[in-house]
């Protein structure tokens, strides 16, 4: 089994990505996040979404001890952003976009929001990265969900393209299936599955 270090502190993001990879390659990977690997670092994020994911992967890999470099097969850096177009570059300032969306200024109801997610894999062999796009439909914010809420507040205003079940109310299995539909192929290629 390959030991993959996911360079994130976001538990929701960690859960969904690990579940997706485990579905793509059952029992082929053991996962660690920065917390379980006891790595505490602040990474300066600049540039595009893809560049930021690469920075995370590179910097975390750089601070690994020699023993940890032997322990982990690779570091997976992830960075998110939003865009209203599938092929757009994505806005890496997620917090601003999320706030704007929750107050109804970023998109109109029924409009498709693309979660642009960059994945970068860094190990001794070098760096590989991909850009993905995951579509959701904005259904408005009648409950006045705040960006300050714990977890992932946007999950309460977004649904998959088909259906009207909120992201936050989707079962874990359905959510992983949905992610697999849009991210599975790219991620498989990146991880050489």
């Amino acid at each position: 089994m390959k030991h993959l270090l996911i360079a994130t502190k976001n538990q929701d993001k960690l859960n969904i990505i690990c579940a997706l990879i485990d579905k793509l390659a059952p029992s082929k990977f053991i996962f660690s996040d920065l917390k379980s690997a006891e790595i505490d670092c602040e990474i300066e994020e600049t540039g595009s979404i893809l560049e930021r994911s690469e920075q995370k992967a590179r910097e975390v890999f750089g601070i690994l001890s020699e023993k940890q470099k032997q322990q982990f097969w690779a570091v997976l850096g992830i960075d998110d952003g939003f865009d209203l177009k599938q092929d757009g570059p994505g806005d890496p300032d997620s917090k601003t976009f999320a706030h704007a969306l929750l107050v109804g200024k970023a998109a109109s109801i029924g409009e498709t929001i693309w979660i642009k997610r960059g994945f970068a894999l860094c190990n001794r062999s070098g760096m590989q990265s991909i850009m993905t796009a995951l579509p959701f439909r904005y259904v408005g914010n009648p409950n006045g969900v705040s960006a300050k809420e714990d977890g992932y507040p946007l999950a309460k205003v977004l649904t998959p393209i088909v259906g009207n079940v909120l992201h936050s109310q989707m079962s874990k299995t359905d959510l992983v299936d949905y992610y697999e539909k849009y991210l599975g192929e790219s991620l498989s290629k990146l991880l050489s599955l």
Partner: protein, 712 residues
Amino acid sequence: MIRRAHISEYFVEGTNREVSHVLLHITEPSTKQERSKGVFFALCEVNHGDLAYIKEIQSMIETVEDAFYSTEDSFAKSLEVGIEAANKRSHHLLEAPKETKLHCFLGALHEDQLAFAFHGDMSANVIYHGKNGELKLLDILSDDKQKSNHVFTSIVEGSLNENDYLHICTRPVARIISSDRLPSIFEDKNPDEISEYIGSTLEKTIAPQSFGGVICQISQFDEEEKEEVEDEEEEKMEAKRPKKILQVATKKEKPSKTIHHTPETNYRPRTNTPDIPLGRRIVEDIGRFLVYFFQKIFRGIWLIIKGSAKWIKYFFFLLTNKSGQREATKSQMKSDIKSVVSGFTSLPLGSKILFVLTILFVSAFIGSILYLQLQENKQAYQQVKQNKIFAIENKIEAAQAKMVYDEDSAFTLVKEAELLSQQALEEYGEDIQITQHYQMILDLLAELKKLESTKADIVADLSDREENSLSSIALIDDHILVFDKDTPSTYRISTLTQSQEKIQNQSLDNIIRANTPKEEDAMVLLRADSSIGLYDSELGSIKAADITHASNQTQLSDIFVYNTRLYAVSPNDKQIYRYSKTGSGYDKGSSWLTGGAALADGALSLAIDGDIFVSYTGGAIEKFSRGQKEAFAISGLEPELEYPIKIWTYNGVKEIFVLDPPQRRIVLLDKSGKLIKQLTASNFDDLKDMAVQPEKKTIYVLSGKMVLKVGY
């Protein structure tokens, strides 16, 4: 001049073949090699033998004949080889039914040399010329009594003088033509004339037995005559075999009427084995061997079964002494053992060696089969074991993959792996590989259980105090108050200096629980009779306070102050009561649960952060919000709570703390019920109460008569 045997025979068939059956077998050599061996002859009488038995005898004679002519040894040695071969292959003939008798004489004559072996009761005489020319009689079998276990005696060798006779006949012939008549019968006659005479005499006798005999005489031949005969026969060897046989048969002119060409008479010249293709011969030989082999196997099995049955019978009689047969059985057993031993010791050395080798071979054969079977079973056993190990490994790997992002699934997988490992350890004992996996599983379980084991620091040791029912503690102003439920005794311990002092209690005894609100302005004490007291931290004193219950059934088990109101849980009427503060205590309580909501049986403790969490004797924890029960489930906790005697949380505190004395632990859950961690300590013993100081991330625990503290 050379000497050569003149051989003649007679045969008269009796009236009852079943009583007596005579086989007469004379083989004259046809090739140069065969001539170097001389004439082979056999005379046998079988009494009461069936056709199969007679065929066996014929086969035995052919065995001797084949061996005699095919070996390159000397004349007598060749016959000996043939006799030995017959003895080896025909031992079973001796095991024929009692009434079946075999009498047989096998011999060979080469020039004047005679060699023979015999079995049973035959008559063989040499009629020789005495010094005065008169014929005398010598019984050549009189000194050779058969004692061997074999069919035939060992070879007897001798010589026959020129013009002397050798007369071999079956015993019935000897009874009719007595030996004292023989000299006169043989006087001045050649073998053919004698045969004719004896044959005609016997034909006159009407008897059930058949008669047979052979007469030999050594005569002189010219060298030239010999060469002519030999050359002629050599030429015949070049010709085709059927023609040659015909020619030889034609040349041999048999004495007429005394020779009856019946199935008994095997008289024929020596013929060469026809050219049978090698493949066919191999197949036939294999077939014969297989028949012989399986006959022996079946016979061996039969003997084993018979022997086993006999010995079982012996043991049965030995054990039960049925019909008083124990002694007789003992004696029979001894006799059988002696018989086996003597049978073995009487065997010739060669047979002993063969017997031992056979036993060794059979043992090795059976041993090999058993060994192979064992190996096969061992391999199957190893395969099953390996599969189980693979199954454990798969579970471990799948669990490891899920540990970071899906603890519930990982936990389920590790528990499955643990069960498989325990079963494997039970089945295969302390196998290194399984033990290593099991240890790995325990490590994973500990990791998933988030069980942290530490040594709690001692804040106060009250062991030397007289109170034996210390029951609760509460924190206020960097002090811990420890209450005894049977006495008014209360101790105040500084969390900073750990100094202890007994405080004035004004006889307010039976305090079972105490709670300090966040504001830390006062501590509310609950007594066993559901009355309350207050502790004034400024005065350092305890006094009774007013409280009125809404129901006579109310029996409070725990209290909690939240937003200046007192909340209490009453297991009796399955209700949570809320009391408002008054100048002298608290007013009459009202039911906080609404709309028919009620507690389950066995409520123990409550904690409030806006919502109310209640713990129960069975280990359950329920959450209530705005008077109604809400979904709440504990996840990731192993083992489950047994007796959560105390639960605590507060608004702004992320954890729910649960004291579980049976498992000697404090469980920290998040507000959704998911396990955060478990804390245990080697000196956790008889846990009774706890007080949490979240701002210092410290938990104080009343353990027996000691106050301990652990960080979290």
